[in-house]
Amino acid sequence: MIAVAAGPNRIDPYLIPALDGVAYGLLVFVAASGLVFCFGVANILNLAHGLLYAIGGYTAAAVLDGGWASLALALAVGVLAAAAAGALLAGLLTPVATGNHLSQALLTFGVALAGGSLLVAGFGPDDPQVRVPAALEGSVMVAGHRYAAYRLVFIVVAAVLAVALYLVVRRTRAGMLVRAAVDDPEMVACLGVSPARIRAGVLAAAGALAGAAGVLGAPIIGPGTDTADTVLLLSLVVVVLGGLGSMAGTLLAALAIGEIQTLGVALLPSAAPFLLFAAMAAVLAVRARGLAGRWRTT
């Protein structure tokens, strides 16, 4: 369920999987960055994060009809719906906000379970087809190889999104607050902003990111009953590997996972099941004790 089918006309065994890995990695990056926000700023382990992505994916499947306008519409609807779901989740979390993080995580899991069930009830148990805009349906030549046009465009769009995200976090006031909050969770409390509003804002933003990833990535990790779990797992692994310290770390981890899932599987098919595990173990072994400084403060 995690493996990505390689391009339709696979000639070179390495170039195409490598490109797929980039597309996959950027997708996971956009999805995971929402989880990083949740976790870093609001200190909530959001187990419903995969659900937010799935909302975007199902929106894409329902709205896309092969035209450009439908893509824009799907993006708008998907982002808004996922952001609204995030805000709703924040509202549900309010009564247990002063409780412990264990019950918060469990609550988000309950929401994920119920929400997943609702999605299946609304869109049916079968994995829906996703139609990309007609102009992107074909393939293009990349260094002598045919490659799905949509994926190439996706790489560009996702890269733009990643740069935009970087600029927002680096250059804007809101981004500065986010970075400060990740560095020092106590600080948010001193700012005088109500924690409920911070939570709502963070979860809505995380939802928007996951929703955007879900719509744009629907042709890559399509909507289905396993989607939420898959995306949650990949995002978690990215956070574990990349830590909370820097966006560069998150990006590197996401790209590494993308390549492992595509190029790694192409190169070492027999070891494929263990590659993600091995990557996690290797990274943690190299960095021995701390992922980011915040991993352990004892």
Binding site: I2, L92, S103, A112, A114, A121, V240, M280
Partner: protein, 336 residues
Amino acid sequence: MSGEVIRRARGAVAALVLAGLVVAPWVVDDYTTALLARTLALALVGVSVALLTGVAGLPTLGQTAPYAAGAYACAVVGSRISDVGVVQLVVAAGAGALLAALTVPLVVHARGVIVLMITLAIGELVVTVLGRWRSVTGGTDGLAGIPAVRPFWGLPALASDQARYLYALVVVATLIGVVLVLLRTRAGLVLRAGRDDETRLRASGHRVALHLSGAHIAAGAIAGAAGSLLVVAQQYISPADFGFDTSALLLLGVVIGGTASVGGALVGAALVIAVRDWLFGVLPGYAPLVLGALFVATVYLLPTGVTRARGRLRPPAAPAHQPTAAEQATVPELRR
């Protein structure tokens, strides 16, 4: 005085529950008996979750990983090497302990929510591996046709659901007894002290990482043994038995039961699993929806499940904590 009363009442309840469990297979039908056997296995995993979450202070969503390792090891041994229950139990516990030992470096230096996240990733990765490593695990189809177990050399194979259930009951009761004894040694005391104040414990000269690693491996062994019971109960296993929802259900059960109490974890986990099985029986299509709603409702009803755990640890103690203790009690799972 009231402490004595509570202790006696608790003993009486435990005896009643045990008696009920022994006669249960003759009261209900075979299908329910098989379900009960599986619930016992999951309740044992719940105990391992409680050991990590409540006693050691490492909240976990990944105990399905050693559980799965034990189950698959037992299934492979059961179909190819030996149908003796003791052998299967030891192999399964060993497999669970080995997996837990391998993941110690990932877990033992993290705290709080981060442990939740890392263990969840480990559990999900194990399920992914199970789904893909077809030559050994049979992929997503799972392993079927595992021969019936015989508890000990020379004993007959357990052919009926009742017999298998009673086997599971005996194993669970024995292992719980071992856990309760071990918790009364210095190990339990030191783990509780570490949950209170890890820095202080280290300053006293204790090797905290070593204690936590030990707890992690022991919990892995228990979950592995539970995996062997699952194989006995179902004679069929697939990756679906070890999904992320199982971990979350067990953690919820443990929180309901009061995180640090072994008996509470058993009851809580069994309750949650029973509700799930019942829901899937009566509402096939909407079970996840109702289950999710129940999750949310339960969390609202038990916003301070962990705090209650502390009260329960020491029932005779007066409830009024002083500020420092109260602070500790609200977020004991977050030792940062």
